[in-house]
């Protein structure tokens, strides 16, 4: 059963078309992440679902109710904002109670729900404080609590962790995930530009670009079988290597780029027909190094150009067939500039995209 469904959504500000014919179905209890770079329309989409923006065309259903023309408060949603948006002159308790008072909830019920939410989020000692007296992490907890007390089916998060420092972000990320597991049947839609947040939290990720969803799939599929070149380049850090070349499929399927020839017999083609110019993508972390490379279906020898040690691993820049090629090796292995090393990879784990359409082959 769909918890939130967006049907043929259009939104334009004057001449600027922000969202075009967007469709999205989110299941009950699902954690969906809207991921994209800034300006891709992900926050706009969330605001449309919340009812904070009037849409130009289309429909929005929440819990099978058409809420296209409903006010935000009547949609059964709770929302958490990037800047926390706590009411500065109210105490934490007042912040949590504000929505309930507006809805005319009884005093005893308000107290009960605040207590529950405060326990769940570990903010009981903070209830009498003002937002200015809280740290960033505490503020965001209160903001989550404000959505929690409203006892809604759908939670909307608009980049909730972007204002926090890296350590707090990681902590709160886990807490949000835990919260989602505790609240059964609660749907969460989460907007972020951080792919790590997306990959760790999501049941499904929707990658957006230019107001349209590029790919909607579980994190595993998004990472391993990106639908087009944009998605492949967006997900993964360090980002995927692309080698320009051509695919030939008469006889043995193979990829050729200068002297480099990769045997594609084991590559799971999605599109059986097209030949010709393409971009061959292979992730830096899928490349074997040294002795391990010898067992790979494809091997080559490259010269190390630049070495970037990052503690746990080392990122090595080199050239393959005259094109930039990065790969990741264990941080314990010594690699020095100018050295010639043997690398290898399994073409079955690669992603090949058509040069013109940029779609996966």
């Amino acid at each position: 059963m769909a918890s939130v469904s967006v049907k043929n959504l259009f939104l334009s500000f004057g001449e600027v078309k922000v969202l075009q014919d967007l469709n999205l179905e989110v299941g009950r209890g699902e954690f969906l992440v809207l991921l994209g770079s800034s300006g891709c329309g992900k926050s706009t989409l969330l605001n449309c679902i919340a009812g904070l923006l009037d849409i130009s065309d289309g429909q929005i259903f929440i819990s099978d109710k058409n809420v296209t023309w409903e006010e935000p408060k009547d949609r059964g949603i709770g929302m958490v904002f990037q800047s926390y948006a706590l009411y500065p002159q109210m105490t934490v308790e007042g912040n949590l109670a504000f929505g309930l008072r507006n809805a005319g909830v009884g005093r005893a019920e308000i107290a009960k729900r605040i207590k529950q939410a405060a326990e769940l989020l570990h903010i009981e000692p903070l209830l009498k404080r003002k937002p200015a007296q809280l740290s960033g992490g505490q503020r965001q907890r209160v903001a989550i609590g404000r959505a929690l007390v409203r006892d809604v089916d759908v939670f909307l998060f608009d980049e909730p962790l972007s204002n926090l420092d890296a350590k707090l972000r990681a902590e709160l990320r886990v807490e949000i995930k835990r919260l989602h597991q505790q609240l059964e049947n609660t749907t969460m839609i989460y907007v972020t530009h951080d792919q790590i947040e997306a990959l760790t939290l999501a049941d499904r990720i929707a990658i957006m670009r230019g107001g349209a969803i590029q790919q909607l799939a579980d994190p595993h599929t998004i990472y391993n079988r990106p639908i087009n070149k944009y998605v492949a380049g967006f997900i993964g850090s360090p980002s995927i290597n692309f080698l320009d070349g051509a695919v030939t499929r008469d006889g043995k399927p193979r990829f050729t780029s200068g002297e480099v020839v990769v045997d594609l017999e084991r590559y799971p083609f999605e599109d059986g027909s097209s030949d010709g110019a393409c971009a061959f993508g292979v992730r830096p972390e899928h490349i074997a190094f040294g002795d391990a490379a010898a067992d790979s279906p494809f091997t080559a020898e490259v010269r190390v150009d630049v070495v970037e040690p990052m503690g746990s691993d080392t990122l090595v820049w080199s050239k393959l067939g005259g094109q930039d090629f990065r790969f990741r090796v264990d941080g314990q292995i010594p690699v020095s500039t100018g050295e010639n090393v043997r690398i290898g990879f399994d073409p079955a784990r690669a992603s090949i995209f058509d040069k013109k359409t940029e779609l996966r082959l």
Binding site: E71, P72, F81, P88, F98
Partner: protein
């Protein structure tokens, strides 16, 4: 003295590496210029006030001696009493007191009414982008640039037609309307600087137009209300033009009455009474500034800097 520092030769200390707080000479050229300019400016503005206070405390014979800067030989408060209670303007001889109370009855309702209306206007313009909001706002701002003199006579006719000409109510309405452009602009800019997400959060929390205004926006906007109050109190209190045009002798505000006292052509020019009357009239805005000056600066700054 510590032995280790005592052993350091003084010549060496003078040539020591720069370290710690940079030494500053008190009588540097920069300081002399700054404090000199400030002193001159302060004297320039304070001297007239000094002359006024001194003159108002002298008797007429002493004033006739012509030493306007000399302090009074014999301090008398009679001019102050006369200015307040018995100076004649036209037919009335009850001093400035009548005008003072008229001004109070004009200023208080005008200030409250104009700030209430303008703050709601500004809030609606900043947060509820209704259709035609920009056009409405532009018209309002253009209104601020039309000289008052152009509108004097049409407003006389309007007030006459609705039967409010010559009454305090009429003047209150006029002040409220003319305060609108600048105050709306002030409030709109302030409310725009409040993060939009706060407003969105309140909407998700089920707050409507008035709940958001009263429970979220108002408590956050004390500084700008103080700024608006100062602008309006001083503006309306010091107003002469509207006062003289839209009221009659019985309802003249203090400024008009002051003018009538000072410019009366009969008899001797009582400089001491004139000075006392002027100071009394100017006292109200002055007191407002002293009480709320700090909040005023904070409000202006809060409006200017986002966040």
């Amino acid at each position: 003295m510590d032995s280790s520092t005592a052993t350091l030769p003084t010549s060496h200390a003078a040539r020591a590496e720069p370290r710690g707080k940079k030494p500053q000479r008190r009588l540097s050229r920069r300081n002399i210029i700054i404090y000199g300019t400030l002193t001159v400016a302060a004297i320039y503005y304070l001297l007239p006030l000094y002359v006024m206070v001194v003159t108002s405390l002298k008797g007429m014979p002493e004033i006739r001696l012509g030493n306007i800067f000399s302090p009074p030989l014999e301090i008398t408060f009679e001019p102050w009493v006369k200015a307040w209670a018995t100076a004649c303007t036209g037919l009335n001889c009850d001093g400035l007191s009548r005008g003072f109370w008229n001004s109070v009855r004009i200023t208080i309702p005008s200030v409250i009414l104009s700030i209430l209306v303008a703050s709601v206007n500004g809030y609606a313009l900043a947060n509820w982008r209704f259709k035609g909001a920009n056009i409405f706002f532009t018209i309002l701002i253009v209104g601020a640039f039309i000289p008052y003199q152009v509108m004097l006579y049409p407003i006389v006719i309007i007030l006459r037609e609705i039967g409010l000409y010559g009454s305090l109510t009429g003047l209150v309405i006029v002040h409220t309307i003319f305060g609108m452009p600048i105050l709306t602009l002030l409030f709109r800019n302030y409310f725009t600087s409040i993060p939009e997400e706060l407003f969105k959060a309140a909407r998700v929390d089920g707050a409507g137009f008035w709940t958001i205004y009263l429970r979220i926006m108002l408590p956050m906007s004390l500084p700008i209300f103080v700024v608006a109050m100062i602008i309006q109190v001083t503006g309306i209190w010091n107003d002469f033009l509207f006062g003289v045009v839209y009221t009659g002798p019985e309802t003249y505000p203090m400024t008009v009455q002051l003018n009538n006292i000072v410019n009366s052509t009969q008899g001797v020019k009582e400089y001491n009474v004139n000075m006392a009357a002027t100071i009394i009239t100017g006292l109200v805005p002055l007191i407002i500034y002293f009480i709320s000056g700090k909040l005023f600066v904070r409000g202006i700054a809060a409006g200017a800097v986002k966040g």
